[in-house]
Symmetry: C2
Subunit: 132 residues, 2 copies
DNA sequence: TTCCTTGCAAATCGTTTGCATAATG
DNA sequence: CATTATGCAAACGATTTGCAAGGAA
């Protein structure tokens, strides 16, 4: 049986991961987080990075982004906003646009289940990839 | 060097896969396709299923859906429409709703790159999972 | 001391690929 | 005949997990 309430204990590694993520606005992958955090703590393991990213996402301190490129990206900015992913270089960029309000109601109108939320992202070619 | 234009040759396996997909409106995964097609052709391999699903998606005869659950789903209905994925049982359901026109313009307004398209899906709990 | 967290490595899962053979045009 | 497609199995990349040891409350 899976007893207790899994009280969260403090951990240096988790702090470093969260702190690193907050310095970046390019939505790094787990591996990028690993590479970078390892420069401060060479002993940290990839498994720990994954575990903490998952934990942080579960408790809502960060956002996990699945943008269809097969790799998870992570974002310390948990405010609702939209992303663009470049089909060529894979970079992820924040979009400045108002929230798509009403989209849920729109979807829920003729639907019998219950809709919790939606995921929307845009794809195409970023400026840097166009200009070369 | 990669010479020719890769002329498409007919294949029984591809036909079966496409035919099977057209009978289903629940957006099966590659593995589900494999399981089912295998009942008609026990010799077909999973690799062939993957190759053909990828090929069919590339030439636009089917749609590949990445709905954030880590598995690709396939849809023979290539008309633009939206999907709902149940967070509990994972089932994928078509949503009856008008297209989100203007959403691209909306996103492109303050963005420097070029936007080709967008991906939107909804999640929550489906009727069957609510009722139990 | 209790229980969560870590590091390490092995395992898992979905998907892709190399290769020799079979099928298509 | 030239070339694409197949079956098989091995390879892959991203992520997860079991376990013994370390660290926080």
């Amino acid at each position: 049986m899976k007893g207790g309430a899994d009280i969260l204990k403090h951990s240096k590694q988790r702090d470093m991961i969260k702190a690193f993520l907050m310095t970046r606005k390019d939505h790094p992958t787990a591996d990028t987080v690993y590479m970078n955090v390892r420069q401060l703590n060479p002993n940290i393991s990839l498994g720990t990075v994954y575990r903490n990213l998952t934990l942080l996402a579960d408790i809502g301190e960060i956002q996990r982004l699945r943008l269809g490129d097969g790799v998870d990206h992570f974002d310390a900015d948990i405010s609702p906003h939209y992303h663009f992913i470049c089909s060529k270089c894979g970079s992820v960029i924040d979009l400045e646009m108002e929230e798509l309000t009403g989209i849920i109601d729109n979807a829920a109108a003729r639907f019998k289940g219950h809709i919790d939320g939606h995921m929307t992202y845009f794809y195409g070619t970023c400026v840097d990839c166009i200009e070369e």
